[in-house]
């Protein structure tokens, strides 16, 4: 069914080459006085203003997986998939509350990762390690899923042969990831920051064109909604229940709200989002950005509607069926069937480049975590900045190779399950990280215990949840106390209860608190606006040689 279309292919390859050039060139963008500082490689010199931060944070928010998975969910289940829009609506106001404090304390104390903040705040190496391990565990499958996103585009475009040999079949993917690793290694966070411009232009163009062009070709919005509504009313023979619904049903409201809230709370404790926040130049940059980032939410809402458009195109439905009922193919198929081949090439490039940017940021964030919380903390406390940077570069390489191995060796379902687990896990670092920005009331050991209990509970609960034809890891929401809710949120409540109860117990028995190296003023500090002309020129007049 999927013949290689020459025009689509050429456009896809050309845009990949352009992005590669930008990636390598970015090493010379805003040159640092000393490029071998971890804050230079890993945080772009902490010098990104409003404009660049906007692209960088947007690059975190939506990845190839969102581009593919959100409409796929809407395609398969209807309104329930729209929780992603609700999530992106509430995420920015939530982050608005705590991100400036986080930025300030990291700036004053020189933290590059959340793990360092937790260690410094609670004087607990163990708690810092717990946060770091959770961060890396949750990030790895997330990177792997970017590859899964690229793969579904390549499958539909007909790139990548159907050979049984893994290396031959996935060669395009391996090449793309190899090139990405090379320029990330060289340029650090500057590479994804610059490429994010191209990515976003392509995505905005694709989404706007799709929303204006496709409905007219398939009979208008009224027709799209009516087709979807009719389909979701039919009964799924496998479950004996309707496929879905066009509006969330009362029984699904708890799941919808808790999925949205849980995802929103989790997003900015993911290492890659924290990296985006730390790279900002000033405190105001973050707040201003959080007011401007909803532009991405709007795009995400429109992308979610692609699921209904795909449902209204019989050729897409046939293609999904032919692909083994894989609804992840619905958006690439929609592009291939609806757009002329040259524009399908642009749309496919948007997805592929949309995968490369977050994959790069994620691997850098994970590398920062490893370098600061393992290498510098445990292995070599007297490491020089240059040694740190070298270790971080290598670690980013390992993360990508690991993710590639993941995506190629394990089956897709497994990666998606792990991503689901990652979301549950990462939220369990919230009490130690975000709450600690405000209070040290929780005892460090109680936080560790709460984290451990919640991690175990979340993992077991996810394992026990059937759905989508699988006995385990079938869904991210499960019945708790009579309501179907997002497992991560249930685990978070458990986490908080355990932490609070044990804090009281530990205080009672007089267990010692850790030393807090931060000061109250650290949390509200900002850079003094630079006086005179120096404020205008970002780089020093004479770079030292």
């Amino acid at each position: 069914m999927n013949h290689l279309n020459a025009v689509t292919f050429v456009i896809l390859v050309t845009s990949f080459l352009i992005v590669t050039l930008i990636g390598f060139a970015s090493a010379r963008w805003r040159p640092a006085e000393d490029p071998m500082q971890l804050t230079e490689w890993g945080l772009g010199g902490r010098g990104f203003g409003t404009f660049i931060s906007w692209f960088l944070l947007g690059g975190d928010l939506y990845t190839a997986y969102t581009f593919i998975a959100v409409p796929a969910l809407v395609y398969a289940t209807g309104a329930a998939g729209f929780y992603a829009l609700s999530y992106t609506i509430m995420v920015f106001p939530i982050v608005f509350i705590f991100a400036p404090r986080l930025w300030s304390v990291a700036r004053v104390r020189g933290y590059v990762t959340l793990g360092e903040f937790v260690r410094g705040r609670h004087g607990s190496q163990g708690l810092g390690l717990a946060v770091m391990v959770t961060g890396i565990l949750a990030t790895m499958p997330y990177i792997a899923l970017q590859l899964v996103g690229i793969e579904s585009v390549l499958t539909v475009t007909g790139i990548g042969s159907t050979s049984g040999n893994v290396l031959v079949r996935d060669l395009p993917l391996i090449i793309a990831f190899g090139v990405l690793s090379a320029y990330t290694f060289l340029a650090g966070l500057r590479a994804p920051a610059l490429i994010a411009f191209v990515k976003d232009i392509l995505i905005y163009v694709t989404v706007i064109v799709a929303i204006l062009y496709i409905p007219g070709r398939i009979g208008g919005w009224a027709h799209i909604f009516s087709v979807a509504s009719t389909h979701f009313k039919t009964v799924n023979p496998a479950t004996g229940k309707p496929f879905g619904s066009i509006v969330v049903l009362p029984a699904g409201e708890w799941a919808y709200a808790s999925l949205a809230l849980g995802s929103a709370l989790a997003l900015f404790v993911y290492p890659h989002a924290v990296t985006g926040v730390f790279a900002a130049k000033r405190r105001d940059v973050i707040r201003r950005n959080l007011a401007m980032l909803p532009a991405y939410s709007l795009i995400l809402g429109l992308i979610a509607l692609f699921g209904y458009m795909a449902r209204a195109v019989p050729a897409v439905n046939a293609g999904v069926k032919a692909g083994g009922g894989n609804s992840q193919l619905s958006v690439p198929l929609l592009f291939a069937r609806m757009f002329p081949s040259w524009f399908a090439g642009i749309a496919d490039s948007a997805i592929v480049i949309g995968a490369l940017v977050p994959a790069a940021i994620m691997s850098i964030a994970a590398a920062n975590l490893f370098t600061r919380n393992i290498y510098k903390e445990l292995l070599k406390p007297d490491a020089t900045p240059a040694q740190e940077t070298r270790v971080a570069r290598l670690a980013s390489l390992f993360m990508k190779v690991g993710a590639l191995g993941f995506a190629l060796a394990l089956n897709k379902t497994f990666s998606i399950n792990l991503q689901l687990l990652g979301g549950i896990w990462i939220l369990q670092t919230l009490p130690a990280t975000v709450l600690s920005l405000y209070t040290r009331w929780f005892h460090r050991f109680a936080l560790i215990a709460g984290w451990a209990v919640a991690m175990a509970y979340g993992t077991v609960q996810a394992y026990r949840t059937p759905g989508g034809g699988q006995a385990h890891f079938g869904a991210s929401a499960a019945p708790v106390f009579g309501h179907v809710i997002y497992i991560a949120v249930a685990a978070l409540v458990l986490n908080l209860v355990v932490s609070a109860v044990l804090t009281l117990v530990f205080r009672k028995v007089g267990l010692q608190d850790g030393y807090d190296e931060t000061r109250p003023a650290d949390y509200t500090a900002d850079l003094v606006p630079v006086p005179t002309a120096a404020a205008k020129t970002r780089t020093p007049a004479i770079p030292p040689r």
Partner: protein, 87 residues
């Protein structure tokens, strides 16, 4: 790399910001308000157009919060790169 003293905001300002942000969050979190198909806006059921319109509304609320909390450049530091002094 100098750091300024913590900026102090009046409780009234902080209260306003808190209310605006809570309104923004509840608007998306309280699903029963919008889990319905009518009134429709053209072919769009309420569920969809409510959420799509909520996005710019939340952006405006956040922007107001940003302006309220904006740190004023200290007088001796000269003009910052923003819109100048607030209030």
């Amino acid at each position: 790399m100098a750091h300024s003293a913590p900026s102090r905001k009046r409780p009234a300002t902080l209260g306003t910001v808190a209310v605006l942000l809570i309104v923004a969050i509840i608007g998306a979190l309280w699903v029963p308000i919008y889990a319905r198909s009518t009134p429709k806006l053209g072919p769009f059921p309420f569920f969809y157009w409510y959420q799509l319109i909520l996005v710019p509304v939340v952006a405006v609320l956040s922007w107001i919060c940003f302006l309220l909390l904006k740190t004023r450049p200290t007088p001796d530091a000269g003009p910052g790169d923003g819109g100048g002094a607030q209030k």
